[in-house]
Symmetry: C2
Subunit: 519 residues, 2 copies
Amino acid sequence: MATTIPDLTRALDAFTEALGADAVITDDTRLREFRDPFAYATWDDFTAGAVVMPRSVEEVQAVVRLANEHRVPIWTHGAGMNNGYGGPAPRLSGSVVVSLRRMNRVLEIDDECAYAVVEPGVRWFDLYDAIQAGGHKLMVSVPDLGWGSVVGNTLENGVTYLPTANDMAVACGLEVVLPSGEVMRTGMGAMPGNKAWHVYKRSLGPSPDHLFFQSNLGIVTRMGVWLMPQPECYLPLWLRVWNEDDLPALVETLRGLMLDRTIENVPQIWNTISFASVMSSRHLWYDGAEPIPDPVIDRMARELEVGRWMMRFALYGDEPIVDLKRRKIEEAFARIPGAEVWGEKCAGDRIAALENPHERVQGGVPNLDINQMTGWYGGEEGGHIGFSPVARLTGRDAVALRDLLRGLIEREAGLDYAAVLIPTNARSFVHITLIIFDTKDEAQARRAYDTSKLLVRESAKHGYGEYRAHLDFMDLASEQYSFNDHAYRRFVETIKDALDPNGILSPGKQGIWPRSLRD
Amino acid sequence: MATTIPDLTRALDAFTEALGADAVITDDTRLREFRDPFAYATWDDFTAGAVVMPRSVEEVQAVVRLANEHRVPIWTHGAGMNNGYGGPAPRLSGSVVVSLRRMNRVLEIDDECAYAVVEPGVRWFDLYDAIQAGGHKLMVSVPDLGWGSVVGNTLENGVTYLPTANDMAVACGLEVVLPSGEVMRTGMGAMPGNKAWHVYKRSLGPSPDHLFFQSNLGIVTRMGVWLMPQPECYLPLWLRVWNEDDLPALVETLRGLMLDRTIENVPQIWNTISFASVMSSRHLWYDGAEPIPDPVIDRMARELEVGRWMMRFALYGDEPIVDLKRRKIEEAFARIPGAEVWGEKCAGDRIAALENPHERVQGGVPNLDINQMTGWYGGEEGGHIGFSPVARLTGRDAVALRDLLRGLIEREAGLDYAAVLIPTNARSFVHITLIIFDTKDEAQARRAYDTSKLLVRESAKHGYGEYRAHLDFMDLASEQYSFNDHAYRRFVETIKDALDPNGILSPGKQGIWPRSLRD
């Protein structure tokens, strides 16, 4: 793969002229903020040549046009918090990072039809605050960490947890700056004066919206986000099981409860180590260099009271229905010996006061509390890589993936197996494998990155593919989707070449390179 | 728009050689079966030059390759029952219709994850029968008429009514023959051996699935369809209101009940005339040539017991929850004076025995009972055109669209205003305007087609666009989506030209023409 670093001198002058000097960052110290936050200090695989910060759609268009004129690769982010997958760093070193952080307006909050319209720099915190400030009785589905961009996270297929986000369904209606610099609006937004842009998801004709997810085919400058009316009753629930091998029964029971819509939100199933990593530090439990052995994990499970697997999930609705559903859930999980279900009801307008950050997240209240996870090995400087294959939501698949990944992570990398299984819909789950390491320990960091690549290859041999890939193995992850001699990749490349003949927009994103950088 | 009729002689020989003589239809009598079923007898705007009937993916690939070789336009359908929008007829006269009716295998029914995988010739009846024959405790979301193709209907954004189909969400994972003749699989299907193809909807990288809806960018040869587990209790419900102006209160109340997920399926709201048209004939009520006046509509409302607006909808779930929801619904609609809600519970495995065809449709049991609708004006030979704009699900929009469309239909066409409002999700609805006419009456038929075009233009002036367009005004409907000098259409055209340089696949579909037939 070609990775020529372009000469930016003339382009930077042009960007400065168009956007103003304060919108163009070139000094090395500030550029370091746009690295992969977990990369070892001296690594420079993915470094920005400069950063530009447009304030408006027109300025984004100007940036794209200048990039074409000067044949400069650009790489976009919303807030740039895509941690675990490379953060704000570009795939192609020397690219100009287009940071959309300054485009941070909440353009609309619609009470009637329960949606918001946001620019790409709006963070989950910002949208939540705007909803509160306006007194809207609406909830936004948020991810575990609230500092990211609503648009950026959603475009990466990022997972959030309210019923509205089941099956990744919140986005509705995009405005996009195409690689040509032209602005397009999707769906009903393509009709001037049409008010159904953010309430109906299809176009008359082919619907291109999902082409702009995990994509280098356009820069999304505006997006509709479906919100949920505040329910009368919110019931965050916990399920704990004590045996490692309770996992398949847990998953099978859960699928039934999701398929019949008893559970409508997006649950998370944590193993002991992943939960321990946000509550504790490794050295308190074990000081061996090798992976923590099972008896120690059992002790952690007991003493931290997190079990071998712990699931968080929630119910939302009228209190009598919530009560009925809770009873059904308790009965369903009672078939697993020792399984416990607990949780306390909360009024829909009192969620922000809850103490537990998970319960706030599932209630649409963003926070950063579980960020300490990455301190597991090394205090303040912890990092993680997300390795995240998708599987059918069956006990069989959960066990197969667990055994495969735990085996490789422990055996090949000597690291602990930290897993969070997230059923993003009733039929499938994403197996978030948190490869946690000390970013100050180069050997450990290198081993974590290398292990991730091994996992990509080995998982694919068993038919499991990533839902999202880290910069460092985007090509490798993409390589696994090889049906019919990579028909899918060639299809996207054909579109890429037609829309972006100069190959300026985010070259290499999810394994898609423009013609000039292929072969 | 160029509409050259190609010379097919050499191409037909090649198709015959590849597929066998029985797979190629050229005689005029048989070709007439592939006309717009409601076009007046002598009209020949949209006529097939021939029909080919491949039996397999390989044969579809052969057809596409030969079409490229001979530069012959092809036009596909699943079952060809797209009535109201042109049926199986091609947009460009002389095109070779590729009928996929022979590709009618149900490839898989998955009990665990509740989905089926079907070829494009599988009809709703076929899938339903396969589910019953296999003893699967699963329900398929079906449209009002069961004779269409599951794939064909779904690809046209056709509406079905189970909770699984809310927001048009049933399709998951496609196999597509591209205009080059190559086969591509989307999502997880792009990875050999991946079993999550039909349970997870996104790709690693941009997701192209929705590019193949209402599209001429590929021929879908296989699709996953999400099914729903049979509930303990099914409760089909009816709501009736007696005043024309109860509509906004009905819609506002409904939106609240859909946003909070009390009602999870896709309801239908019928006006008196649309309901009368499936239960009765016009001449029994009125023999004037002008539109039926309000006092007569009121009499029909009373005597047919359908009210001025009647809504069908349904609940599915555990009986105690269904009971609670029913009570909430009754209380909510009680604020409309005279509104009545009724319905009878039915066990989830007894739905096929229900007498009312609407209640069977909403219970996933396909039938053809309401097809007689089009007999309103003229007995056996009735026809209809669907004019179907999208709007926000608000009382304001429902009234604005009703007044606009009723006014134009009655005043300009002298026809009766038959409307079915379908909230395909909690935030928007499709206003199906059934322009019913006697296909034997050329003047009336012509007026119906002309009126539809007027409605397209006038609705767009008010910001309402079609979700789906009839062959006869696809270009006009597409023309209305003109934001930024038709940025959307130019975007799709760019993709079209890149994927289909010879412009062979369904030229003109939803207003998208290949380069050779533009300008």
